[in-house]
Symmetry: C2
Subunit: 225 residues, 2 copies
DNA sequence: ACCTGAACACCGTTCAAGT
DNA sequence: ACCTGAACACCGTTCAAGT
């Protein structure tokens, strides 16, 4: 039933469910995830809150549906032409995921808090698997490396948007404040580099380069068949 | 003011604020993060909800305080004797963080959604920095690699607890269900390995090994001074 | 200084009732 | 089949009032 709805939406038939998810995503984009209440979504969809329940089982299901919509956009954005270099394919997927997280800041945090396994999410993972298989990594290692890479990419996006990385800029304040410098010897040694502002785009690319080398290292551990 | 309270608590003086945070963490451990309401925390602390506000500015501040308490336990658990091998130090820190996330499943998701920069969190980062400096990585690269590693470790713990990794077990169901196998060519090739249950402890260790090699690779790019 | 009671403007969800 | 109104048991937070 729900599957038919999702498959229907893939063929361009805009269902009631899709209208509800669109309303919820618009509210999250404009006013944050906390503003997404059943009542607010309903008002935007031009209906009462209780009218949502036949289309989304619960608020949790609504949040899962929002994530599902995002994943649906991911493989399209990456749009990897077959036969492309696996390095470029992985880079494109990683950049597409980060771009999506920038456009929808609520998404990165959400992805860690629910097991959202929509068909679209599986399709994106399949592209990941294909690129890793191309790299020459042993098949038995592919699922693990996909999880390693996707965990990093999603975690990076979530850290940027959630503010975890913001801590870097405040290190100086803390260091000069409550904590004596003797308690933070490594910070003292790194002071010169901690005071420079960080280029998050460049850092993401540098990380992806190092992770590509990690993959090549795993591939080299065992000669390809 | 707040700093005096935190420093006080480090010296064993149990403040009112600490009692409140203890109550909140106990509720989160027992009944999940959603059960942590101001009213529930107050009841457990033997007081009305409004009496909390002089001690924690808001519910958001209460959540930050809970994370702060967790970070306070992190460096102690790792308890790195000076002069220990940097590889062992990083492994210990990673394992301590994951153990903490297992004991308090609500924490991993929370850490990505707020910029919690308590003195204790900075202390933990300092240990990370120190180990990376020991590895021979250029100082300019240390902050980036600390973020790369901590993002992975926290993301891994959050994925385990939040259910994101659970998707692996369900891949079969999806594959046999709504999606035609032709749309998931890489899943088809990997079927043999996707059907085996995953040992998450072993996978975490394998990931840490690969990341250690990544660090050694960065260190080797430029000869140490 | 610290706590309380009542109140305000919200939540997610159920259920009987309408058409 | 689809939607509504009223209701239930909650939220976080403010504020005047108590001691």
């Amino acid at each position: 039933m729900r599957n038919r709805t999702e498959e229907g939406s893939r063929r361009g038939e805009t269902s009631r469910r899709d209208e509800i998810l669109d309303a919820a995503m618009a509210i999250a984009d404009e006013r944050g995830l906390d503003a997404v209440s059943m009542r607010a979504v309903a008002e935007r969809a031009g209906v009462t809150a209780m009218a949502l329940y036949p289309h989304v089982r619960s608020k949790a299901a609504l949040l899962d549906g929002m994530l599902g919509r995002l994943f649906a956009q991911l493989p399209l954005q990456a749009a990897a032409p077959a036969g492309q270099d696996w390095r470029q394919q992985l880079r494109d997927l990683a950049h597409a995921a980060r771009r999506l997280a920038h456009r929808h800041p609520w998404a990165a945090g959400l992805v860690f808090s629910r097991a959202s396994i929509t068909p679209d999410a599986v399709r994106a993972v399949d592209q990941f698997y294909a690129a890793l298989l191309d790299s020459g990594v042993p098949a038995a290692e592919v699922p693990r490396l996909e999880r390693l890479l996707s965990t990093f990419v999603l975690g990076y996006a979530a850290s940027e948007k959630g503010g975890r990385f913001g801590a870097a800029d405040i290190n100086r304040r803390i260091r000069g404040g409550t904590l004596p410098a003797t308690e933070l010897p490594a910070h003292a040694l790194l002071a010169r580099w901690l005071e420079e502002p960080v280029d998050w785009d460049a850092e993401f690319d540098a990380d992806l380069d190092d992770l590509r080398r990690l993959i090549e290292g795993v591939a080299a551990r065992q000669p390809p068949a």
